[in-house]
Every structure is written in structure tokens, then in C-alpha cells.
Amino acid sequence: MFIEYTWLIPVIPLIFFVIIGLTGNKTPKEGGIIAIIGALASLVLSVLVVYEFLTGPAYNGGVGYVTDAVTWFSIPGGFTLTLGYYVDGLTCVMLMFSSLISLLIFIYSIGYMHDQGKRNRRYFAEVSLFLAGMLGLIISNNYLMTFVFWEIMGLCSYLLIGFWSFRHPEGDVASDNAASAAKKAFIVTRLGDVSFMGGLFVLLYAFQSLDYVNLFDPAAIAAVDTNLIVLATLLLFGGAIGKSAQFPLQDWLPDAMAGPTTVSALIHAATMVKAGVYLVARSYPLFVQSADVMLLVGLIGGITAILAASMALNNMNIKKVLAYSTISQLGYMIMALGAGGYMMAIGMKEGNTALIAAGAAGYTAGVFHMFNHAFFKALLFLGSGSVIHSCGTEDMREMGGLGKKMKWTSITMLIGSMSIAGFPFFSGFWSKDLVLESVMKASEFGPEGDIFMIIWILGVVTAFMTAFYMFRMWYMTFAGPEGHATEHSHGESPSTMTVPLMLLSIFAFGSGFLILFGLDGIITISPDSITGAFIVGMHEGHGAVHYIEELFTNPYTYLTIVLALLGIYIAYLMYSKFSVNPGRFNREGESRLYKALEKRWWFPQLYDWISWKFGYGIAKGVDYFDRNVIDGTVNGLSGSVVGSGESAKYVQTGNVGNYASIVMIGVAAVFVAALILIYYMGGM
């Protein structure tokens, strides 16, 4: 009874976007209250829909999804595009964490943005539109609708990164930075979006439809040329690379931190950047048609994870550290999906059910990590926002010793840091170990399995780095002697900010335990043994005993625990106890590696070089060609007409005698010619 109204979930924030946009300044908190009501309504409806779905027949033994659609428009030749909703286990998980975190961040924004005055109208209108985009993406029943909402999110991301792109409270340089970061984010993700769009064309051509129901139908997949599917999945993955900031398009995300911290938490940590991972997870039935594609997915994830983690090691900006860690964790998710899909692809080819089940576990790991990450990363960003709000700087060197002044913030952030570092029994621990376990397992199969061994090593090293840089951040901020900014800080933030932090920290600690109570049953995917149709959610999980047994009998689990603890301990020695000088390892910031990290492995230069050479450089050439060659030809033609007239005009002497002479000569010439002609023609 509620599930038929799933389409309302994104429509509510959309309507509230219009209301805030038109009347925001006349409403309480410049539209803040309205935005919260909208998010709350969406959350309530989401909960009802999820509850109804999970207790309904479709999930419990049915096809595993509920979908309905109306025709949007049709293209001649039998291509039909629809608007509708598609609810399955993945949708449920995404809906829950997106709407819940959005609501908490909206509440937090009231406190964080209180000094922005009339600008809040714009802020709350844009975040409402963003929420509509995210929820619309999650419930959409076809790729085209997904793409539409995907782009709407991109627009909101652009607008919100650029929130301070004019009249920045900190002056013109900050405005310029925000404007430039917004541009970069839009254009770099647009590169991925264009690839996504290319994928849509391939899929639409191949399947005559973009509805998930039709695309994931095994009979339809079997009828389509596999090469087309491989091409389509590669193009779709290009979209995911852009949106989820994967290598080599990862570099927009750190710059995106120029936006307000709430925006970073909402868009660039908890929700929008997950869209790429979601797209891969959603398209699993297509992706698993080729093991090679999945290998590429896993490899990109692994490279991204370690590359981003390395750049977080020495960064001094609290938000940038978190941004790199977001990229790194997104790499984990993509890595897990790649490993799982690799196994599933091989399993499906060989008809090996055990391998398919192992692949499903990889999928579970990826989605589960996405779920956990949303909570602890939102918590960490909001915590950092609380810190920034209090001391007015993002530079961690000026902080330190904030723990005493900001008790709640420091405790909640500690929980978040422990979670992301993989401290045992915190949520990050469960999902991260599942990810690594899947990758490890994938290395045992197939001709290219060894590559997954390398990816696993990258993952383990990343886990160690994660623990180190997260606690480096925590110690630099909250422990040690009081920094310059700490002395001037305002103390603890208002309760509109700390209450969301506390709520999030409960999830950041506890969300991992959900897997012991059957969450894995909702977020797994498996081809039906009879029909071959992919079913998301098997309605029964493995349960607590299975996981605890599997985790704690696996020696590698202990390896990662030890590495995480080691990372935390090193961070403690360096940044809290100060018994080890970090400068020893980088020659006081002079080593080549340190500089490479500071320069972000030269990615910004690479982007600049490409855009200047292949964008502006060619454009200048085209412009020159246009002005001189093409327009030059046009002007030259008209010039030659004018010029020939110029030179011919001197025949007009103005002397009547001359004219008369010419006329007479002409007449005489014609007369003589006529006579000669007649003579030779033999006339007369």
C-alpha cells in the first residue's frame, strides 16, 4: 500500500525545493525548517516502503523486486522509455541510509550555517534538490531516469561546491578557489557522465529499452551480442569512475572541499559519490557477463584505494584528509564489487555454484562497506565541520588540544576514526575485512587471479595507511598541546550540531553488527538456479555464527587487525607522544615522495595540461583558422569583387568625347565583324 507511492519519495523534496526557492526568505530559518520537513517526510515514506517490501511477497520468495512505470516517451522503432520505481534489496539499503543521513545533515546545517543569513535560502533549496536527485536515482527503474537524476546531483554538487564562489566570507582568493573547484568538479565528472551516456546508447540500441526489468532478463542478455554488453559496461563504469572519484578521475573530489562542510559530508562523502558504486552494483547482471571487465573494475578500485590513501598521509588540511580517505574507501567498494563479479562471472561460465556464492559475498562486501562508510564518513565530516566551525580554520597544524574544549566532538570523531580504521567490532572492521576476504578469494580463480593478489596487497597496505592517517588527524586535532586556533575557538558547538553527531556515532559503531542479524540477506545477488534471473536479496542471511566463525578462523583477519593497531600506535607515537619525529621519514618534507604526495601525484598538472593543450590550445587554433582562413576567404572574395571594380572604374574618364569614341569604335568593330562574317559565310 505504500510501495505504490515510492515515486513520491523524490518528488517530496523536489516540491520543497520549489517552495524554498520561491518563498525561502519568508519561512523560518530561511527554508531550513521546510527542508528538514521534506527530508523527514521522505525518510518516513522510505521506512514504510522498505518495511512493506521486506515483509511483502516479492522479497519473501518472489522475484525479488517490485516495479511499476508509466511511459515517458517512445522513439519510433519500438524503443520505449519509462518513468517509474524499482524497489529491491539494494534500493532499500540505499534509501535508508541516504534519507536518514540527509535528515541528520539538514538538522546539523541549521547550526552550521546559522550565520549565513539570506544565503541559506539558496543553500536549503539546493540541498533539497540534491536530495530529490539522490532519492530519484535510487528508486529509478531504468538507466535513463538514473542518468537524469545522476546529472541533477552533479548540478547540485556544482552549485554547492560553489556556494561561496562569490562574496566568500574569507575574501576574494577563497571565492576564486571555490569557483575553480566547482568548475573542475563539474567538468571532470561530466567526462564520466558522457561515458555513461555512451553506455545508454549502446544499451538502448541493444535492448530497445533501458528498464532494469528488461535489461536484467537473462533471456534478453543471452540474445544480445556479448561485445555490445562489454562495451556498454565499460562505458557505464566510466560514469562510475567520474562520479565515485576513481582513478584516473579522482582529483576533483579533494578540490570539492571548497564547499561548506555539510555539503562535503552529504554529497562528497555519504551519498552522491556512492552513486558510482551503486551503478556498478545495480548493473551487476550486465557486468558479470565478462570476467575481464570485472578484473578492470577491481584493479581500478585497488589503485584508487592506495593512491588516495597515500595522499592523505601528509596532508595538513582536515577536510582534505577526509576527502582522500573517502576516495580510498570508495576504491575499497569498487574493489570488492570487482572481485565478487570476477568470481561470479567465472562461476557462471563454469556453472560452479560455490564460486557464484563467493561472488555474491563480494557484492555483499562492497555494498555493506558503502552502507557503513556512509555513516562513519558523514560522522567524520560533520565532526570536522564542528571543529572548523569552532576554530575557524581547516589547517590541523593550528589545532591540537581541542579534546578538552570540544568533548562531544572529539569522542564522536574518535568513534568514527576507529570505525574507518577497522578497529575490531566497529562497523568498518566488519565490512573492510569482508572486502579483503573477497579479494583474497578471487585471487585463487581464473587465469588472471594473480592480479587480485596484487590488489589484495594494495588493500592491506591501504588498511594500514588508513589507520595511520585517521589517527594522525585525530591526534593532531584533539590531542597534544593547544594550537593557535584552539586558543581562539568558541568551544563546543550547539546541540543542533552535536546531536546529529551522537546519533551518527551510534550507527558508525553499530551498523556493522547488522550483518550478524541478516543484513547480508538483503544485499546479496545471485542468479536463480532455474531461470537464471538475478535476484537481489535472498531474504535470509547467513547469520551471526557464520560470520564470526569465518572471520575469526581466517588468519588474514588478524593480519589486518594487527596492521590497523600498528598504524594507530605509530600515529600515537608521532603526533601525541611526539617520541618519533615524522620528519625523519621524509627528510623534513624534502624527500621526493613527500613532494609527489603534496603535488597529488601531479594529477592536477596533468588535468591542466590536458585541458590547456586539448581544450584551449586546439580552440585557439580553430579560432585563428576561423578568423583568417575561413573568414579570410569570405572577405577575400568580397575584396576581390570590390578590387576588380576599383581597377575597372578608371575606364570612366568623365570625358564625353572618350565615351563617344568608344561607342563608335564598338559600332565600327561590330559592323566590320558582321561584314567579314557575311563574306565568309558566302552570303550576298
Partner: protein
């Protein structure tokens, strides 16, 4: 009856004299007069052919031409008078304003 060749010869001589005058004379009045000669040379031809063919059409044209010539002289003299007012000359070689 006088043979037609006489008339044609006479008209040709008149025509050539007129053309010669147009091309060589500097005074605009003389040029106008020479133009009249040329026109009348044509008139003589028309009249002669009309008489020999017994067709009245040629003479009609002559009357028409005479009327046109009168108009032309009127306009020509008017232009000349104006040119003389502005330039104080009727020498054609000096009146070369209408050129490039």
C-alpha cells in the same frame, strides 16, 4: 526620280560629320548641334525609305524623333546652363566630374 542611293549617301555624310563633331569639338553647344545632325541623318533615311516604300510609318517616326530631339535639346541646354553657372565653362574636357 532621284535614286535612293543619293539619299543614303547624303545621310551617311551627314552622320559622319555629326559623329566627327561629337568626337572632336570641345564646346558643348557644338556637340549638341552635332547630335542634332546625327539624328537628322537618321530622319533623312526614314523619310527616304517611307517615300520609296509608300509607307507612312517612316514619316510618323520622323515626327516622333523630332519631338524627342526637341526635348533632348531642352534638357541638354538646361544642363549646360547649370554647368556653366557652376563651372563658368562649356568646354567638355573640363566637365569631367561624372567619373570614378
Amino acid at each position: 526620280m532621284i535614286p535612293i542611293e543619293f539619299f543614303l549617301m547624303f545621310s551617311a555624310i551627314l552622320f559622319v560629320i555629326g559623329i566627327y563633331g561629337i568626337m572632336t569639338k570641345n564646346n558643348a553647344i557644338v556637340v549638341l548641334m552635332c547630335i542634332e545632325l546625327v539624328l537628322n541623318a537618321a530622319n533623312i533615311n526614314l523619310v527616304a525609305f517611307a517615300a520609296y516604300n509608300g509607307d507612312i510609318m517612316g514619316q510618323v517616326f520622323v515626327v516622333f524623333t523630332v519631338a524627342v530631339a526637341a526635348c533632348e535639346v531642352a534638357v541638354g541646354i538646361a544642363i549646360l546652363l547649370n554647368a556653366y553657372k557652376m563651372k563658368k565653362t562649356t568646354v567638355i574636357d573640363d566637365l569631367t566630374e561624372l567619373r570614378w
